[in-house]
Symmetry: C2
Subunit: 328 residues, 2 copies
Amino acid sequence: MSTAIGSSAVPAGRVLALTGGVGGAKLARGLAGVLKKQQLTIAANTADDFDYWGLRICPDLDSVMYALADLNDDQRGWGVKDETWRTLIAMRRLGGDEWFQIGDQDAATHIFRTQMLASGASLAEVTGKLCRGLGIAAILLPMTESRVATRVKTDRGDLEFQEYFVRDQCEPAVRGLSFDGIDSARLHPDIVELLESDNLSAIVICPSNPFVSIDPILSLPRCRELLKAAKAPVIAVSPIIAGRAVKGPAAKMMRELAMPATATAVAHYYGDLLDGYVLDELDAEHAEDVAALGLEVCVAPTVMTSVASKVSLAEIVLDFAAGISLRN
Amino acid sequence: MSTAIGSSAVPAGRVLALTGGVGGAKLARGLAGVLKKQQLTIAANTADDFDYWGLRICPDLDSVMYALADLNDDQRGWGVKDETWRTLIAMRRLGGDEWFQIGDQDAATHIFRTQMLASGASLAEVTGKLCRGLGIAAILLPMTESRVATRVKTDRGDLEFQEYFVRDQCEPAVRGLSFDGIDSARLHPDIVELLESDNLSAIVICPSNPFVSIDPILSLPRCRELLKAAKAPVIAVSPIIAGRAVKGPAAKMMRELAMPATATAVAHYYGDLLDGYVLDELDAEHAEDVAALGLEVCVAPTVMTSVASKVSLAEIVLDFAAGISLRN
């Protein structure tokens, strides 16, 4: 078990981060603050993507983009800061849908993406162009170019993910999850290439919801094998702190899926995919249980409330990964 | 020749107004203030419609809607009042197009329309739904459900209408106009039905640009014959006052098309389609020339700077039409 000390060893090779939305985006922002341009590749979940107002919405890609550009609204917890809602209010007047809240600045992202996709661009190309527009140096990729859609089996029936997550505010009890289209989807080739590269220093599973953010990525054909075969250590940062998720329904889902809502249970859930696991200081008591799963453990302050704390956690995670690489 | 006196004879039958954008929309607003619900049908030009940001934009339908709902921005001269531009500014950051300015409230209209069209609704259905959302009682119809596109032949080459009108600010000299798709387009069946109805009291050609707003409507197959065969008088209100258009390039176009930029020239241009013509007070001297074309003439204050002046001109136009009906 390591106890984190804040050094700043930038690895020589590239780093791959797997992430969902807001929580993972914070660590992605931290990693982008430590690593050199193009050294960081972020693979984001796209199984939450959906069409709304006739626009293609990619909530996790957008959360990561806004976080990387320091445009995210920390107080609201999602979307763009200094946002306004004039289009939404006008849409209400017209009788349009308003359960998913699109701000006026955010709307530009969705309109731009929808138009580019309609003209034949790939989602990765669109994402690259959006990132350049926002001054983002890291490489952000959708997990796949294929359409994958999370469906949530609940006590109120099967729901589309955004119906469950936004419209119904995660209130229905989750009985299970499925990812429509996953079997025929392909992990984005640039992610495959990176996972097979000799120049990969670390793979970081960000503190995102394991079931609806990370699982879709891991469920893509070949993904688990590629992660296990990769020459870099796989590190996960616990999305659960003291039995709770910082944001979102992860802990509630764990209870509904008959798992203990603990950091250790997440480590167990990821299982032999991991080489190392980062626990929050509040969960230091779980270190032995995690070590008993055969994992290297790092205890660190994982709550990211400022850019400085995001960068600090990123440094800790990268140092932790470097230590594991050296030992193996 | 009649000299207008402001009475308020509401006709017994229905009224059809043909209109383009902002100028015509003012008279449409006046007519809506005089006539009973559903008594007024407004047929709007759709040859200016185009796709921008991947959205279907119908500038003339929108100008009429906003005017009927008293949401139009009188000072700017187009769009929605109290508008904001947050999406446009965000789009600029992303490197998207910004030559056509879409405000945040206006964006809701385009998004709503594009989504409904994509799900199979007709443009008339979408327009009806938008009108209901905005509390509009009059019937607003696109001139056709077919795609018709105005192309402007200029000294700088052939331009799409909005490229000429907005992007290039009407600066190129016009050599001619064509309406792509017009030959296979069909006048909206509800307009045909109204034109063939015994219950039609007046047909009003609003003070819109004759070449790019009214001509596309008149050029639709059967439109001129139906107008001539209709049992109601056809009245046009001059879009030219003292040699100038209140707004837009009509007078400049007339000069470029080797026509005198006068109210009389517009009456001559519409020709035997008309039964009556409304001149502005500043053009009273043209009354004899217009009468010499075989038309009834009405001289009235036609500059509409307030709702009251819009309603007042509408009353004059309807009285004028009633007089022509009685005489014939």
